[in-house]
């Protein structure tokens, strides 16, 4: 069974020879500084050059880190296309938003529409096309930042979170606008050749929002995003990653129409499988351990996650850039039974 068939089967709950071991990209970054050195392709250049972006995504597979390709390596492109100011970071720091596009929520309708065919959004599309030409047995994961995370990159989060309670009408109009932009970028990624879409919404946690607002905003707009992407691509598998503890929001989570869920390592796979029956579980080897523990420990942690019933083995929240290749390879080797 090749890597692509294995992942696509696992996402749809069809039997596989063994679990796939992947890391999607986007917020769940899979590129580490040591890999940049091996491949001689570096951040921040790889964020703006499609050949370098594709090269680095390919290196992830070639150097035995994960069984997928994935782009981009950050979660700032959507917000940048909508007017946020982004610092592209360094070989260690990921790109991050340094300037919001909005002072006040009431200005949202002055924002530009998200154009997927320009600037760094187009770099992602070109990188996907390059990767598509090079391999048909390796799954390509296109990544999107979730609606709440994009929203909190466009306006000061405290202002935004308060508006969710106090200015509901405007907040919903803004979220609809953001979600429509994400649909256009996601569709363009699928058209360019993405086999899977991963949506990460780290700012939309149950701990910040509580169950009521979680359902009203996170579930509503991720579902709109999923439905929008499936229009014309009914088979496209989708992974949704949400950070933080989940025990307060399992009920609304069950309403998400994703194929697979990915959680923080503080969430027990055993518990989440019980609370989300019929859903594919991805994860959740500790990102912290992958950076700070040794390879023996990673092997044990990977085996534990497999024993708990994770269907797709992956780092919980992507990788810190200073994680060692040895640790990442230890995870893949454990999954491959080496």
């Amino acid at each position: 069974m090749d890597s692509k068939e294995r992942l696509l089967n696992a996402l749809k709950g069809v039997k596989t020879d063994r679990s796939p071991c992947i890391c999607p990209g986007g917020m769940m970054n899979m590129v580490v500084t040591a890999l940049m050195e091996k491949a001689d392709i570096h951040w921040p250049e790889a964020h703006t050059d499609p050949i370098k972006m594709a090269g680095l995504a390919k290196a992830v597979y070639d150097y035995g880190c994960f069984e997928n390709y994935g782009v981009p390596f950050c979660m700032t492109i959507e917000a940048e296309q909508l007017g946020a100011v982004v610092d592209l970071g360094s070989t260690v720091y990921e790109p991050h938003v340094t300037g919001y596009a909005l002072e006040d929520l009431s200005q949202w309708n002055k924002l530009p529409h998200l154009d997927p065919y320009s600037n760094r959004a187009n770099v992602v599309l070109d990188a996907i096309k390059i990767l598509k030409e090079q391999a048909d047995k390796i799954p390509i994961i296109g990544n999107l930042s979730g609606p709440v995370s994009v929203a909190t990159s466009l306006i000061e989060p405290v202002v935004y979170y308060k508006a969710l309670r106090r200015r509901k009408e405007e907040a919903h109009a803004f979220m609809k606008f953001v979600t429509e932009g994400l649909i256009s970028f996601g569709r363009a990624q699928i058209e360019a050749g993405a086999d899977v879409i991963a949506i990460s919404d780290p700012s939309g946690t149950g701990e910040i929002l509580g169950p009521r607002l979680f359902e009203e905003y996170v579930v509503t707009y991720i579902n709109q995003l999923i439905d929008g992407l499936r229009e014309g691509n009914p088979e496209i598998p989708m992974i949704v990653h949400i950070c933080g503890r989940m025990h307060k929001v399992y009920e609304p989570l069950n309403k998400l129409r994703a194929d697979a869920h990915s959680f923080d390592s503080i969430v027990s796979i055993k518990e989440s499988k019980k609370m989300l029956p019929g859903k594919t579980m991805m994860g959740n080897v500790s990102t912290f351990a992958l950076e700070f523990a040794d390879a023996d420990r990673i092997r044990l942690m990977t085996q534990k996650v497999m024993a708990e019933g994770s269907d797709i083995i992956a780092p919980a929240c992507g990788l810190g850039t200073k994680s060692s290749l040895e640790n990442i390879q230890a995870m893949l080797n454990a999954v491959q039974g080496k």
């Binding site: 991050h96 979170y161 308060k162 700012s203 950070c243 990102t287």
Partner: protein, 222 residues
């Protein structure tokens, strides 16, 4: 016309309830009534507004309130505080210590919602806060702490990539010979007490209410 003057206890309870029940629109009016009735501003702050924020913090501990709830509660608190502030006694009692705290999200990271909440809770607890914002150059924490003579530096990050920056801040304090003058408290998603020990920071807090307890212990605030 017969104007009923509300008792002090009644108004304190209303101030507390405005904060606790997220009634940010009425907090200022209740504060005005309280002052108009001639009651002490300091009690209005501590036994009214801060009491409400503490009750909200308790609900947060119990996972009945969430971060967004606390943010709206704090809006109500600040609305009331804006009214009461000018009526507070100007001079602090002789010998009273002014607890100063520098807070920020370390360089490379921009997730600041947790930091903002900790700032609010520490302010509520009586700390004078100096908020450097997010993506803060490491040296700036030390510079600011020296400038204002702070007893505490609070460092926050949600990313493993930027955690080593916290150790660097501790190291800079050592290098500058002021490590014994400033306590360092850390917090954020990937952190733990073990990491706190490893980098020789002084305290680790799991959440915003925990941060208040740890911060008070570190500076010896009663």
């Amino acid at each position: 016309m017969n104007i009923m003057v509300k008792s002090k206890e009644e108004l304190l309870q209303q101030l507390s309830d405005c904060v606790f029940e997220m009634d940010d629109e009425n907090a200022a009016d209740v504060a005005k009534d309280y002052i108009a009735a001639g009651y002490e501003a300091l009690d209005g702050v501590l036994k009214g507004l801060v009491d409400g924020m503490n009750r909200a913090g308790q609900m947060y501990e119990e996972e009945e309130y969430f971060v967004t709830d606390l943010l709206v509660c704090s809006d109500a608190m600040y609305n009331g505080l804006d009214v009461l502030r000018e009526h507070l006694p100007q001079e602090t009692a002789e010998g009273a210590v002014n607890y100063k705290c520098v807070i920020g999200v370390v360089e490379g990271d921009t997730h600041d919602i947790g930091k903002n909440l900790v700032r609010i809770m520490l302010e509520t607890a009586g700390f004078e806060m100096y908020d450097l914002g997010r993506d803060v150059p490491l040296q700036s924490f030390v510079e600011k702490a020296k400038d204002v003579d702070a007893q505490l530096i609070c460092l926050s990050t949600l990313m493993t990539t930027t955690m080593p920056g916290m150790k660097e801040v501790v190291d800079i304090l050592v290098k500058e010979g002021i490590r014994d003058k400033v306590k360092v408290m850390i917090g954020g998603g990937p952190l733990s007490q073990a990491y706190c020990n490893q980098i020789n920071a002084d305290g680790y807090a799991v959440n915003a209410t925990g941060a208040v307890t740890v911060a008070k212990q570190l500076v010896g605030m009663a």
